[in-house]
């Protein structure tokens, strides 16, 4: 019981990170109908920028406390957002209107470019970081097993919920959110209504990158070790989450992320840590075979 509760806590905090990344996949798919395979690497970039920000702020003596972490988050969001913008501008926009596979191939190429760029500029070795947020609270104790909710986990859950709340308001209530949804549903009509569709697509990439950068910061704080390759696995799992939730559905991406996090954690806890990735990817295969529209995918009948 206590053991399972601990896994639940771990699974949810891991799932939140996947969810944040998955939102970026699903958003880009919704608006331009392509899978941005470089998105996992944007998450990795976000983690690296966070690490560099932590080191610089520590050198300047202004790291420490919640204010420092908030500052790291902001720096990471801004710079990763610029990456997101540049990626769309350089690798996808010139291919718009080209055949369907072209941006997909471009995305895979870009993923390799980003990994190699970080590998060359930051080195290939894993980068450890000293623990910034240590400890946690004891939730319960049973037969000598202590269920702990780490402060980093609370941070992940709190920050993710706050970011998703802001994001939800942005998408459902603001002119930019309406423009994004309009472009997603009928880009030609959006143009006829005076919406600058190129700008809206750019901003979608910026927002997706910003969410991934938050995931990157959280990952760094929680696990403390990153390298240039973390984006691949996290990216594919977040993609699985987006598919499981129903690609194109924003709540679906968060739900899918949580489920993948939970499945992976429970699988590791009760079956095999070595094969935890197999569990996540089996879900991808099963979803694609038996539930291609995902859990919250569209089933609405639309009149023509």
């Amino acid at each position: 019981m206590a053991y399972a509760l601990q896994q639940l806590i771990n699974g949810i905090s891991l799932g939140m990170i996947y969810g944040l990344i998955a939102v970026g996949y699903t958003m880009v798919y919704g608006i331009i109908g392509m899978i941005n395979f470089a998105h996992g690497d944007v998450f990795m970039i976000g983690a690296f920028i966070s690490l560099i920000a932590v080191l610089l702020l520590s050198m300047g003596g202004i790291m420490g406390g919640p204010a420092g972490i908030l500052l790291v988050l902001l720096i990471s969001i801004v710079i990763t957002g610029i990456y997101g913008w540049a990626i769309e501008r350089i690798a996808y926009r010139p291919l718009r209107g080209s055949f369907r596979l072209a941006p997909l191939i471009s995305a895979i190429g870009l993923s390799i470019v980003l990994q190699n760029f970080v590998q060359v500029s930051q080195g290939a070795r894993v980068k450890p970081m000293e623990t910034l947020v240590a400890g946690g609270i004891e939730v319960m104790r049973q037969d000598g097993f202590v269920v702990q909710l780490a402060y980093t986990q609370m941070l992940i859950i709190g920050v993710t919920l706050a970011v998703l709340a802001v994001f939800t308001v942005l998408v459902t209530r603001t002119p930019l959110g309406r423009a994004m949804r309009a472009c997603e549903q009928d880009r030609k009509m959006a143009g006829l209504l005076g919406i600058d569709t190129d700008r809206t697509i750019s901003l979608t990439f910026v927002i997706g990158a910003a969410l991934a950068s938050v995931a990157g910061t959280m990952y760094l704080l929680r696990y403390g070790v990153i390298d240039f390759y973390i984006g691949f696995l996290a990216g594919v799992k977040a993609f699985t989450a987006a598919v499981l939730g129903g690609i194109g559905s924003l709540p679906g991406a968060v739900l899918g992320g949580l489920l993948i996090g939970l499945i992976e954690t429970f699988w590791s806890a009760y079956f095999s840590v070595q094969y935890k990735d197999v569990a996540a990817f089996s879900i991808l295969v099963l979803t694609l075979i038996f539930l291609p529209t995902g859990l919250l995918g569209r089933q609405e009948v639309e009149k023509v």
């Binding site: 002119p175 423009a179 949804r181 549903q185 009928d186 006829l192 600058d196 609405e300 009149k303």
Partner: protein
């Protein structure tokens, strides 16, 4: 007086298909002008070309005397153009209210309430369906929504693509009546594309006939209606 819209020997099309060949027409401020023609004649392409999507391959398009040829669609639309397009293109997963809001948001500044009220007066049905998703409306309701959305930006020039398509005769009469009233009361200029030549020519001040991407006839609405070749070609041999 400068025409509000002037299409000057425009050729356009999609890919290898040439849909329009040296089409010229003009619309004066305050006029209702109709463009009639059979399916595939290029009517919808012409409306879309005026909006900059696709771009003309040859020729010029002037709006209020200013050359807008080749301008990005969203910029052209912000000059006071609105279109209720072919196929209606309602945002299926937005509410009726949001669809209407989209009609004003990026095109005009200021509170959209007055236009919203105007649309509700015109189509009370939309007010009842305000929270409903666009994709779940009936064809007629979607048509009303498409026209209502186009009116939300208080356009100088309204482009209507087959507003009568798929609607009950009663609703068609209502929509045509609304267009006439808007034109008479607010001086709204309208370019109306129709297959329903009889009603369109009765409503319009002037008309053009488009055949295979070329303008073959033009003249006053009722005068065109009286021409035997129009009666034969577009009014079902006198049964219209």
């Amino acid at each position: 007086m400068t025409p509000l819209l002037e299409v000057d020997r425009v050729s356009a099309g999609y890919g290898a298909v040439q849909a329009l060949a040296e089409v010229s027409l003009h619309v004066m401020p305050g006029e209702i002008v109709t463009l009639i023609g059979a399916n595939g004649a290029g009517k919808s392409t012409l409306l879309m070309t005026i909006c900059g999507d696709p771009k003309p391959r040859m020729g010029r398009i002037l709006l209020g005397g200013e050359d807008i040829t080749g301008e990005a669609t969203h910029l052209t639309m912000r000059r006071g153009l609105a279109q209720s397009p072919e196929g209606r293109r309602i945002f299926p997963r937005m509410s009726v209210y949001e669809n209407l809001l989209m009609g004003a948001e990026a095109l005009v500044k200021g509170d959209p309430k007055p236009q919203l009220e105007q649309v509700f007066t015109l189509f009370p049905r939309l007010k009842e369906r305000l929270a409903q998703r666009g994709g779940t409306l009936s064809g007629g309701e979607q048509q009303m929504l498409a026209i209502g959305r186009a009116l939300m930006s208080k356009p100088k020039l309204l482009l209507l693509d087959e507003p009568s398509l798929g609607l009950a005769p009663l609703v068609v009469r209502q929509i045509f009546g609304a267009i006439r009233a808007l034109n008479a009361e607010t001086g709204l200029t309208v370019l109306l594309v129709e297959q329903n030549a009889n009603q369109a020519l009765r409503l319009a001040h002037r008309g053009y006939v488009l055949v295979n991407g070329r303008i073959t006839m033009e003249g006053e609405g009722l005068a065109l209606l009286a021409r035997p070749e129009i009666r034969d070609a577009y009014l079902g041999g006198g049964h219209g």
